[in-house]
């Protein structure tokens, strides 16, 4: 049997905390959120990788021009 996810609710007026199961609506919302966020995350990761690839390419070209590693690092820092 799959355990129902639980959430903790802290009442700031009384200081009491309770642990309650997520409702069906909350579970559905979590799944919707997960799909939406993972799509955004995939786009972000792709953009990061593309940027890293460009940096590596640029560094290689600078080295080929005769700059030292230290000069390339200083230039791109």
């Amino acid at each position: 049997m799959t355990d129902t996810p639980m959430k903790v609710v802290v009442d700031c007026a009384t200081g009491e905390s309770t642990t309650v199961p997520l409702t069906e609506a909350e579970l559905t919302q979590r799944e919707i959120d997960r799909v939406a966020f993972e799509a955004t995350e995939a786009e972000r990761k792709a953009a990061e990788q593309a940027k890293e690839n460009l940096k590596a390419s640029a560094n290689a070209k600078l080295l080929a021009l005769g700059l030292t590693e230290a000069e390339v690092a200083a230039l791109t820092a």
Partner: protein, 178 residues
């Protein structure tokens, strides 16, 4: 500047989210500080923050800058407030989260300033800085910190502390009610 602790909670067992309700309506700004780790089998998981039970992502808009120690990237998001340590990050390490929400009782949209660091005592550590707007003019009475990945839980030991900052009658001096 004086901050007064409203409530603090350390999870004794894993939970999908933690919600602070009945937030006192006598402060000026809110500060949420947290130590977070999730059970998702990744090095980095993500966390979101919502106010007053508002689960409509479109009501939140964030401009994010994230650095990984060698590069920085910017993007837009909604209720996301940062990348945090997941289950495959270095054992027993937690991310730190700081959320400063200005004028939480004011009749304007709500601005939050966030910084999150996924410190795992490793080569790569993600630092997330973002400013976020909640498109609602009502007072903030509750806030929920949770995760958008189904099946992802906050692990035991994750801790959140909620503070209020109160300004004096001259609008400058802050007073402590302790």
């Amino acid at each position: 500047m004086t901050m007064q602790l409203i409530e603090t909670k350390t999870l004794g067992t894993a939970a999908a989210s933690i919600t602070f309700t009945s937030i006192p309506q006598d402060g000026t700004d809110l500060v949420l500080l947290g130590l977070v780790r999730t059970a998702r089998p990744l090095a980095n998981d993500f966390v979101d923050l919502r106010f007053n039970g508002d689960n409509t992502d479109a009501n939140y808009s964030a401009r994010v800058v994230i650095g990984n120690g060698s590069s920085a990237f910017s993007f837009t998001e909604n209720s996301y407030i940062g990348d945090v340590n997941g289950d495959t990050s270095t054992a027993d390490t937690f991310s730190s989260i700081s959320v400063y929400t200005l004028n939480y009782r004011g009749a304007t949209t709500k601005l939050s300033l966030v910084d999150t660091v996924s410190e795992a005592n490793a080569t790569t550590a993600l630092q997330t800085l973002l400013s976020r707007l909640w498109n609602n003019t009502g007072a903030i009475t509750s806030m929920e910190i949770g995760f958008t990945a189904a099946g992802s839980n906050l692990v035991a030991g994750s801790t959140f502390s909620l503070y209020k900052i109160t300004k004096g009658s001259d609008g400058i001096v802050t007073t402590s009610t302790t």
